[in-house]
């Protein structure tokens, strides 16, 4: 692992490690529209990193670049000390980067348990025949996977709906199932695209608690996009602020809060 800065300990006692992922001068264009303009930032091991900004700032595009759904025209993506070649989303997932979606992408026809189990697909190694016959390695693997999945289901308090088809669940619970599926992959980096969008205050508090607990309990590095400034400031260790595809701020919540460009972007300023 390439370390540029030593690891450090946060005020609340968590250890933040070296650089896990680094985005270098990323530019992403759709035809004539530039969604991301020359943005660089890094994500360090064990931290909760937020990307915030007003609507259309390019936050989701940035997350899609990290997870391989979009490929930037310029710039480099570095992961675990190596430059990452352009990858398909499924390859990124196999590398240990899991994500959730702004508009929720779950397998609606499957039960909660089956949905979360799909998160383990990248960890299944046994041959097709062994799995079909339920023999040897496949059996041990299935047991191990089930144990991990049950642990996550307990952790996110969705035991009571394990056998319910996801299509029948209300919005807030779907979001939680999606988080469970991403967690089941035991990712090195967890990407959350607006995990609190469309939730009421109570649900937001629940989700914030889960995000913090996940980081604390599993030590998972989390990069999240959020619209709501208040939530982000409480959750994250460091914040990237984007506006119109450009980075206008980067630092601790306190740094960012006092940054004039950020205040302007959020409160609006007359451009004269």
């Amino acid at each position: 692992m390439k370390d540029t800065i030593e690891s450090y300990v946060t005020p609340d006692g968590r250890t933040i490690g070296g650089v896990l992922m680094e985005m270098k001068n990323i530019t992403l264009r759709f035809g004539g529209v530039t969604a991301i303009k020359d943005i660089s930032f890094d994500i360090r091991e064990g931290e909760i990193r937020a990307i915030i900004g007003p609507n259309g700032a390019g936050k989701s595009s940035m997350l899609n670049v990290i997870s391989g759904f979009y490929h930037p025209q310029e710039g480099e993506v570095w992961f675990r000390g190596d430059r990452r070649p352009p990858m398909k989303p499924y390859q990124v997932a196999q590398q240990g980067i899991a994500r959730t979606f702004q508009n929720i992408a779950l397998f609606e026809g499957m039960t909660v348990l089956d949905n979360v189990m799909t998160g383990r697909l990248t960890h299944m190694r046994a041959g097709m025949l062994a799995q079909a016959l339920w023999k040897g390695r496949a059996e041990a693997e299935e047991t191990e996977n089930r144990e991990k999945v049950e642990k996550i289901i307990d952790f996110l308090e969705i035991q009571s709906i394990r056998k319910t088809p996801v299509g029948r669940l209300p919005y807030g619970l779907k979001k939680r199932v999606e988080l469970a599926r991403a967690l089941a992959a035991e990712p090195m980096l967890l990407l959350l695209d607006e995990p609190m969008a469309g939730m009421n205050v109570e649900e937001k508090e629940d989700m914030s608690r889960f995000v913090l607990d996940v980081n604390d309990e599993f030590g998972t590095t989390i990069a999240l996009i959020e619209h709501d400034m208040g939530v982000v400031m409480d959750l994250s260790d460091r914040v990237v602020v984007m506006d119109y595809g450009k980075k206008i701020g980067d630092g601790t919540p306190d740094d960012v809060r006092n940054n004039q460009a950020v205040i302007d972007a959020y409160l609006g300023v007359s451009h004269d």
Binding site: Y90, F107, M110
Partner: protein
């Protein structure tokens, strides 16, 4: 027991056997529909093509013989060897996998995220292409397919029923073999889709492409896999129907019979395809037997479609299909 009732029982049994063959074709549709939401119009032609290829390889036919002879003025038709059935089946399967790869690489890959109707149209094109390709490759004459499956009247059943009821049932050996093979195939498919990693991935892809990608599933791999399995099912169906009624163009039309089977059983259910096939098989034979004379006969041509129509009205998702509930 009255003669009439015994005859009805025999008709029912024969209907069940015919139903198994319908189910075999329907299975191919269900597999692809489940994994990609595509109604594969080409499934019937795939069965025809598989059967043609099998016969061609077994008889040592030179592929594209007509074309080669027309261009080079030669007179080649046969290599002059005979390939054993099992080996020929293996070769044919390799070709069906290659076909799956070609379909994915040149057609499906470019149509990701398109409307289902576009994909459906693509499979119609595929059907006509494959039909013509099969013609050019192997010729359009009717061929006899004999992979060594037992055929003809089953003497044991005939004798036993004759001794018991004084009326011998006529059951074709081939139908019995088809039933056994279909049962094995279905069991294998169910185990595959429920218990293996690939099966789970297949169900995931069927449900949501984006989500499937995000948990590390390669869509291309799954599609090639599914079309290969559908090719395998087509091959089995092609062998059965080909052995029964010869390998000829009409083989591809049995695909149209699979349509009502799917409406009955539900487009997304493997057991549904089986039960639907059996109901249609038995239903059309019994209907013809009981009401055919009164209605002027030939009811087998339309019975399945009318039944499917009734299902569409009263139970559109079929017997076992998923009822899609959307929260509004």
């Amino acid at each position: 027991m009255p003669e009439q009732l015994l005859f009805a029982a025999e008709v029912t049994l024969n209907g069940l056997m015919a139903g198994v063959l319908y189910a075999l074709v329907a299975l191919g549709f269900v597999l692809i529909f489940k994994a990609s939401g595509i109604f594969n119009y080409a499934q019937g032609v795939m069965a025809l093509f598989a059967a043609l290829t099998l016969v061609g390889i077994m008889d040592g036919q030179v592929p594209f013989a007509h074309l080669i002879n027309a261009i080079f003025g030669t007179e080649v038709h046969h290599f002059g060897w005979h390939v054993p059935a099992l080996l020929a089946i293996l070769f044919t399967m390799v070709l069906m996998v290659a076909f799956a790869w070609v379909v994915n690489h040149f057609v499906l890959r470019h149509l990701v995220n398109q409307e289902p109707i576009i994909l459906f149209m693509a499979t119609i094109g595929l059907a006509y292409f494959l039909e013509g390709f099969g013609d050019i490759m192997w010729g359009s004459d009717i061929k006899k397919l004999d992979v060594g499956l037992p055929q003809g009247l089953n003497g044991w059943i005939d004798e036993t029923t004759f001794n018991a009821f004084g009326y011998g049932f006529f059951i074709d050996n081939l139908d019995i073999v088809a039933t056994v093979i279909a049962a094995l195939l279905v069991t294998a498919l169910v185990v595959f889709s429920q218990y293996t990693k690939q099966g789970r991935a297949l169900r995931a892809v069927a449900d949501d492409h984006q989500a499937a990608l995000s948990v590390g599933i390669s869509l291309n791999f799954i599609w090639v896999l599914v079309w290969s399995v559908a090719g395998f099912v087509a091959l089995v169906a092609g062998i059965m129907w080909g052995a029964k009624s010869g390998v000829q163009f009409s083989l591809s039309l049995i695909a149209l019979k699979a349509l009502p089977v799917l409406m009955l059983g539900g487009f997304t259910s493997i057991p549904g395809a089986i039960v639907g096939g059996l109901i249609i098989g038995v239903g059309e034979k019994l209907f013809e037997f009981l009401l055919g004379p009164a209605l002027g006969g030939a009811t087998e041509n339309w019975f399945a479609y009318v039944l499917a129509l009734l299902f569409l009205v009263f139970r559109p998702q079929g017997l076992f299909g998923e009822k899609i509930i959307e929260r509004v």
